[in-house]
């Protein structure tokens, strides 16, 4: 993936660049909103990582500008402002996801990869397929190797999210935000318990475990 990093903290940008490059992505860096705008206009990117507060032009203005110009590249906002209203402002300006600083690198990379996938699945799908797993979005039914799996509504949503991001690491925070729509960290392992329930339903009795735990990051659904 080609990723544009717009971040005025050069050290933070360097760390991101190195990590994402190691993960096999190609990064371009810009140090403020105006440079970022020029870079965004000049090249095709799969994802943009944009700091919200920067000199010369802030991230919100930059993204509003490119959105007005018709650029629909997925944007991940980074911000030290973590209040709900700040998040809403960021998403309203045209951001696709919002990550509050400081963050774990695993969280950043998981979100960036989730965003790149989002664009590919733009059209309306009625059927999701990951390996042996099939999800009928209209009939609300899930099958593995033709065998029906009975899921609770929330488990269905959880699995749908995992299937849409199959092969990618998905963090607990992402699940809580995207599936439950909460933006706080529970002290207890509530997400893990939901995942293990889901796992027992889709993996139990089959040879190959699909729902895997990624150490230090979260979970991944492998085909």
């Amino acid at each position: 993936m080609r990723i544009l990093i717009v971040e005025d903290d050069l050290e933070a940008a360097e760390v991101m660049d190195r990590g994402l490059t190691e993960a096999g992505h190609e990064c371009v860096r810009a140090a403020d909103g105006e440079d970022g705008l020029a870079a965004a206009r000049g090249g095709e990117f799969d994802v943009m990582i944009v700091d919200r507060m920067m000199p010369r032009m802030d991230g919100i203005t930059m993204i509003q500008t490119i959105r007005r110009e018709g650029d629909q590249t997925p944007v991940l906002f980074l911000s030290a402002l973590g209040e709900i209203t700040d998040r809403v402002d960021g998403l309203k300006a045209g951001g696709d996801d919002y990550l509050v600083k400081p963050y774990a690198f695993a969280e950043l990379i998981a979100r960036v990869e989730a965003l790149s996938r989002r664009r590919e699945t733009g059209s309306v799908q009625t059927m999701l397929r990951v390996g042996e797993l099939e999800m009928d979005l209209i009939g609300r039914a899930v099958h593995r190797q033709g065998k029906e799996i009975d899921l609770q509504p929330r488990e269905f949503q959880l699995l749908e999210f995992m299937m849409r991001h199959a092969g990618q690491s998905v963090t607990r925070t992402m699940l809580l935000e995207k599936v439950w729509e909460y933006h706080f960290d529970p002290q207890t392992n509530v997400i893990d318990v939901h995942i293990s329930r889901l796992r027992s339903k889709i993996d139990k009795g089959f040879d190959k475990p699909m729902l895997q735990t990624v150490r230090g990051a979260g979970y991944r659904l492998e085909p």
Partner: protein
């Protein structure tokens, strides 16, 4: 210094303006009174003179010049207030009370005029009196003059005018004095308010305006200012407290983190420790610090704002059902019985996100502190007062009566909970969320002690009735 300042005050200026307006009106009034009274006096004198003249002319026409002469002499010596003069056709005096006519002969046509007569007063001094007179040629050619001393009338008019002037002056003096008094009063009230504003500007947030209890607009303004200052002071105190709290709250975990890193560094340097393990531990500690920081910041912001942002009206059972669904598997996993009794179709007004976090904290606590085999009950109900109550009851060890107020404070962790992970901020945040919704947090004993289990804890988050 005091007086010039008083002269600059608005009430004093208003007083001056009103006085000027009053003076102008009074002058116009005076002029009118003068003209009306003076004119009236002249007219009356003229009428009297005319009547006297008619009476004399009638006597002349009836009985001739001698009768007039006789009558004139009688009249002049009586108390009548008239001046008489009867003259021959050539103007020489026949008889009368004055020596010669003050009027020019107008060839017999009747004429009238104002003039002055000289007289001697009681002390023998020569005085001039204003007078008016008529002169007419009689049918026989003689000239008759009748006049009247108008000094008394004029003196009367002058007296009235003087009285009016005096009254005007008195009103102006009294008005000025009253104005000064009122301005001083008003400017003292304003001065008091100004002093408060100055004090606050100089940093004394404890300064308050005095409310005199007169229920006037100054009291209203003072009360308004005081209320505003109360709010401001609370908010400032909140911010200051938040700053102190953040500094304090972060210092201890950061100190711990630093100590661990230092020990790890020394160990690794000495070839004893495991660098990887130390780094992993440091990362974990950092996450802990960040979590603490986030919680402290949330509490501080809520307390400083005084009110949760973005409040909407919603069904409290929906939120509770969501959270019950989120926590139910965890409870089951831990061997806890989980029950939810959620009254539908109530209404609360609040920030869903903050309330969700508060309830999640309470559920986290219940799950953490209730041993396997216990039970957790999650309820939403309407109190008879109309308030909406979320309550979570567990069968854990509970919180002793004397500690219940304390556990809500920041970083307070009871003895038996220190081994559990947690920041000691969970309940503080719940309390802050409750307060930011105009509600409160209540801790009480759970279902009671049964053997080794209990007595449990019941935590209620009470929200006011949605307006």
């Amino acid at each position: 210094m005091r007086l010039p300042r008083l002269f600059r005050t608005t009430p004093f200026r208003l007083t001056l303006l009103f006085l000027a307006l009053f003076a102008a009106a009074a002058s116009a009034f005076l002029a009118y009174i003068y003209l009306a009274t003076a004119g009236e006096a002249t007219r009356r004198t003229d009428q009297n003179i005319t009547r006297e003249m008619r009476s004399l002319v009638a006597a002349y026409d009836r009985a001739g010049v001698d009768a007039v002469n006789q009558s004139l002499i009688e009249r002049a010596s009586s108390e009548r207030p008239f001046l008489y003069l009867l003259m021959k056709p050539d103007g020489t005096r026949i008889s009368g009370s004055i020596a010669e006519s003050p009027l020019e002969d107008t060839n017999g046509a009747p004429s009238r005029a104002s003039f002055s007569v000289t007289d001697y007063d009681a002390q023998g001094r020569l005085v001039k009196h204003p007078a008016r007179g008529f002169q007419e040629r009689l049918s026989g050619g003689e000239i008759l003059f009748v006049g009247a001393d108008v000094s008394e009338d004029q003196a009367y008019v002058v007296k009235i005018v003087r009285a009016l002037w005096g009254a005007g002056a008195l009103v102006i003096v009294l008005g000025l004095a009253g104005g000064l008094l009122v301005s001083r009063n008003v400017s003292r009230s304003m001065g008091a308010l100004n002093d408060v504003v100055t004090a606050v500007r100089n940093g004394d947030f404890g300064a308050r305006a005095q409310v005199r209890g007169t229920r006037d607009e100054f009291d209203e303004l003072s009360e308004g200012i005081n209320e505003m200052l109360d709010r401001l002071e609370r908010s400032m105190a909140g911010h200051r407290h938040a700053g102190d709290a953040i500094a304090h709250d972060l210092r201890s975990p950061l100190t711990r983190l630093r100590a661990r890193l230092e020990t790890a560094y020394l160990d690794v340097e000495a070839g004893k420790g495991n660098a990887e393990e130390a780094l992993a531990q440091a990362l974990e500690d950092t996450d802990g610090v960040l979590k603490t920081f986030g919680a402290v910041l949330s509490i501080a912001r809520l307390q400083a704002a005084g009110q949760a942002p973005d409040q909407v009206v919603f069904d409290p059972a929906d939120l509770a059902a969501d959270l019950a669904e989120l926590y139910e598997p965890t409870c089951e996993d831990k061997g806890l019985e989980f029950d939810a009794e959620l009254t539908k179709d109530l209404q609360v007004r609040g920030n869903r996100e903050f309330l969700a976090q508060a309830l999640a904290n309470l559920l986290d606590n219940a799950v953490k502190y209730t041993p396997a085999g216990g039970a957790i009950m999650f309820r939403v109900r309407r109190r008879s007062s109309g308030e909406v109550e979320y309550s979570i009851t567990d069968t854990g060890p509970g919180v002793p009566d004397e500690d219940r107020a304390r556990v809500v404070e920041r970083f307070v962790r009871l003895e038996n909970s220190r081994s559990e992970p947690g920041s000691g901020l969970g309940l503080s945040l719940v309390a802050a969320v409750a307060e930011a919704h105009g509600g409160r947090l209540e801790l009480s004993e759970g279902p009671g002690k049964v053997g080794e289990i209990g007595p449990g804890l019941r935590v209620a988050l009470i929200l006011p009735r949605a307006a």
